[in-house]
């Protein structure tokens, strides 16, 4: 029942700016795919191209088996014919229609019988837990409620594809958390293929089946949240994902399985035996001990920032600064001497020149 989406070599220009640069993605049926990236990376443009609201300047888009856009063949199906639903960042509820009219708008166009429409309104409001709101105008509801109605409006006409353009970014932090839960649940129940645009990495990591990290119109990595987080494909992805940010240390490979970082050396498995590299170390992958141990490197605690569930510690050794994340409230004092242990399994090695991940095992 679920529909796959295939995007081939999609290109879109705005004037001289290349918003999408030969983007190709294969989205499996029923998955929840997030387009993630900083503003201006082309994620919204890509979504709008799929929706049929922008005409790309090259490439193809398939929805299911249907070719909905092809630059070469001159095909561009209007969005009304693509059978998809779109939820906007600012909800885009029609202010002059009550909730029920907002929901039945698409159904009326399909000329659905009245009784069935009423049924759909009821069902979809129930799905977003907004029963009884049929007679409200959008302005009479809070932002979170409006966003739920926007969702209900999409659910009511049961499109094959769900598209969502930063649907939670206008909500406050708490509501956002609740809505994440609901959205993930909705996807789980409906099983509709979903493309979700966000610049919030937590949202992407928590909700997606897979994430496409984008930058300047190019997909940097298209992978599961686990892979994107633990094995970022390049320095950009490594730096973009994760909070606190990943530690990136420059060094060079000096002999087998050893990286020389100047003030200290790290041991890790690599087949390469020379060259300039960057080591990526996630803050939570560093262990702090309070007395010297073999293999541990001595640092000093430059700053200690406890924040309840965890604490962030900034450690310094000469010019080298490392961010470390430990669980709970840390007992370490500022300027205290500490020793850091690194787990070679968690370290990622990047080629300094290209910024790409160096595969450790071949």
């Amino acid at each position: 029942m679920a529909t796959p989406i295939k995007i081939n070599n999609l290109t879109k220009k705005f004037g001289n700016v290349l918003a999408l640069d030969h983007v190709s993605l294969v989205i499996e049926p029923g998955t929840f795919v997030t387009l993630l990236g900083p503003s201006g990376c082309g994620k919204t443009t890509l979504l709008r191209c799929v929706a049929g609201l922008e005409d790309p300047d090259g490439g193809e888009i398939y929805i299911g088996n249907q070719l909905v856009f092809s630059y070469d063949k001159g095909i561009s199906l209007p969005s009304s014919k693509r059978d998809l639903g779109l939820v906007f960042q600012n909800y885009a509820l029609w202010p002059h229609m009550k909730v029920d009219k907002n929901i039945t708008f698409a159904l009326e166009i399909q000329k659905m019988p009245k009784a069935e429409m009423d049924q759909r309104v009821k069902e979809s409001l129930k799905e977003v837990q907004m029963e009884g709101y049929e007679d409200r105008y959008p302005r009479e509801m809070s932002g979170g409620q409006q966003q739920r109605i926007a969702l209900a409006r999409m659910l009511a006409y049961r499109p094959k594809i769900f598209l969502m353009d930063e649907p939670l970014s206008n909500l406050d932090a708490r509501l956002r958390m609740d809505m994440r839960t609901e959205l993930k649940r909705l996807h789980h129940i409906s099983g509709a293929t979903t493309i979700y645009v966000t610049h919030d990495q937590v949202e992407a990591l928590t909700m997606s089946t897979s994430i496409a990290v984008m930058r300047e119109g190019v997909v940097q990595q298209f992978d599961t949240p686990d892979k994107v987080y633990h094995f970022p494909a390049n320095l950009f992805v490594a730096d973009f994902i994760g909070n606190p940010k990943v530690n990136l240390l420059e060094g060079r490979i000096s002999g087998k399985n050893t990286v020389d970082l100047g003030l200290f050396k790290l041991t890790l498995d690599t087949v390469k035996s020379s060259g300039d590299v960057v080591v990526g170390i996630r803050p939570e992958d560093v262990t702090i001990v309070e007395r010297p141990e073999p293999g541990a490197v001595e640092f000093s605690a430059y700053s200690v920032l406890p924040s309840g569930a965890d604490s962030t510690i900034i450690a310094r050794l000469g010019e080298t600064e490392l961010t470390i994340r430990v669980m709970g409230i840390s007992k370490i004092q500022m300027d205290q001497r500490i020793w850091l242990k690194f787990d070679s399994q968690t370290l990622n090695l990047y080629d300094k020149e290209s910024g790409n991940l160096i595969n450790r095992w071949n």
Partner: protein, 498 residues
């Protein structure tokens, strides 16, 4: 009209209503024809072979010629008429100034005059200049005042000369004058763009952190208040009062109470008065003319408002494309062509069948076409600003839901902009009702309109009849403005296209 409710809440603020009301009255009351005719009632002398005015009646001797007719009264009437335009330009600019700019000056120790001189004035200077240039261009194309106050003593300006040439059958002369007027307008527009074009952006400061705080006038409050009231009385009520009084006179020139009558309003036909025409309210000719005017205003208002919405839609949808820019600029052209020259252009185009252009001279349709064309700049402006308020996603959401272009327009865009449509409609209705310069060249016996009928009466020396019709028009205008004010107080300003 459920949307009207909340969207315009700000406009129902007490101060704003006062402001809008005052604006509406002053726009209606200082209508040039009204001013000019009132001027005549007071100052006319027997130079033109007519009867004495109030001045002569009271002072016992005729006013000097320079005060009765010619450039001085024309300039005064034009100034009193157009100061309202100026007022709109400047007030819009003033409202767009963030008060904190002035407050910053005050904190640094500048006194009030210094702030006014060094901060406020420079900021509204572009608007002042713009207002100056636009007024200049408008006055060039004005017919009513100069005709009433100039022609009796053979004092002509381009617009009155143009019509004179046409009436004398000298089309070539008239067209040359028309082209001259248009070129004048082009130059002023060019100047306007040069001088203030780039600085225009002052007017659209908006959004966050914007505070517009009225200055406290302190001890000056009373002084300003009283001067404004006196000024308004002088330019509003006095002329209107004079006109009204004049309409009750049986014989012109005799202002004693014993001469008062209702003959001009509801009198039966009497060969002694008004060439045997019955009073205005019983006069079939007036009714026919009024019906013409109303018909014209309705048609014009409807088509203009509709075109405005459609043009606005097209321009906003195509935002950024070259075509949209072109359409936007083309729609602006009629604004800069002086009214009477516009009429001349249409005579040239439609006087006789030329290629695909049919001969429309003398038809009612021509009046509708020319009025619609002349009002397009206003309506496309207000159409654009109404459309701008409708977020792009609202339409896209409908598009994704499967709605066709027509469905989107009918069910989403139009309902959301309908209040803009209505205020555009009313504004056009009012201005069309009293528009004279534009149609004076195009009306014929059968297509006579109230505004041109007034002129006809005045030219025939039947001032009271003309004055009554002016009063009727003023009444219609004030009522219309009042209704607009109810719909959305801001539309007057928007409609003028500042």
């Amino acid at each position: 009209m459920a949307i009207g409710g909340n969207m315009f809440r700000a406009l129902r603020h007490h101060d704003f209503r006062l402001y809008a009301g005052g604006m509406a009255v002053s726009l209606a009351g200082t209508w040039m024809q009204n001013m000019a005719q009132a001027w005549l009632v007071f100052f006319k002398n027997r130079l033109s072979g007519g009867t004495p005015g109030v001045y002569e009646y009271l002072a016992g001797q005729p006013p000097p010629n320079w005060l009765a007719y010619g450039p001085v009264p024309i300039i005064i009437c034009c100034a009193l008429h157009y100061y309202t335009f100026f007022f709109l330009f400047v007030s819009a600019a003033l409202m767009s100034i963030d008060s904190s700019l002035e407050e910053a000056g005050e904190l640094m120790g500048a006194n009030r005059w210094r702030i006014l001189r060094k901060i406020t004035l420079p900021l509204v200077l572009p608007a002042l200049l713009s207002g100056f240039i636009m007024t200049f261009s408008k006055v060039m194309g004005t017919f009513g005042g100069p005709n009433i106050l100039g022609s009796p003593i053979n004092y002509y300006v381009v617009s009155t000369r143009l019509r004179g040439s046409l009436q004398a059958g000298d089309k070539a002369d008239a067209f040359v004058l028309g082209i001259m007027l248009i070129m004048f307008a082009m130059v002023t527009i060019g100047l306007n763009q040069r001088l203030v074009g780039t600085r225009r952006s002052y007017e659209t400061i908006g959004g966050r952190g914007f505070v517009s705080q009225p200055s406290k006038l302190r001890q000056w409050k009373k002084f300003f208040f009283i001067s404004v009231i006196i000024f308004q009385l002088l330019v509003l009520l006095l002329p209107l009062g004079l006109l009204t009084y004049d309409t009750f006179l049986l014989r012109t020139g005799d202002y004693s109470f014993s001469n008062l009558t209702l003959q001009n309003w509801i009198g039966q036909p009497n060969p002694l008065y008004n060439d045997g025409e019955p009073g205005v309210l019983l006069n079939p000719r007036v009714y026919k003319t009024a019906w013409n005017s109303i018909k014209l205003a309705l048609y014009t208002a409807f088509f203009t408002a509709l075109l405005g919405v459609l043009l606005g839609y097209a321009i906003v949808k195509g935002r950024g494309t070259r075509l949209a820019k072109l359409v936007d600029q083309l729609a602006y052209i009629p604004y800069v062509i002086p009214g009477i020259a516009f009429g001349a252009v249409y005579i040239a185009m439609f006087a006789k069948k030329m290629g695909p252009l049919p001969s429309l001279y003398g038809t009612f349709a021509l009046l509708v076409i020319v009025s619609v064309a002349k009002h397009i700049p206003y309506s496309s402006r207000s159409g654009v600003s109404a459309m701008m308020q409708v977020g792009r996603e609202l339409e896209e959401a409908a598009q994704v839901s499967g709605a066709s272009v027509w469905q989107r327009f009918r069910r989403i865009i139009f309902p959301l902009t309908i209040s803009g449509f209505f205020s555009g409609f009313l504004l056009t209705f009012i201005t069309t009702m009293r528009e004279l310069s534009l149609i004076i060249l195009l009306v014929t016996r059968d297509t006579q309109l109230l505004a041109s009928l007034t002129m006809k009466y005045v030219e025939a020396g039947r001032d009271q009849m003309g004055n009554i019709i002016v009063l009727i028009l003023v009444l219609i205008t004030i009522t219309g403005n009042f209704i607009i004010g109810r719909f959305s107080g801001g539309s007057l300003k928007k409609g003028l296209g500042g």
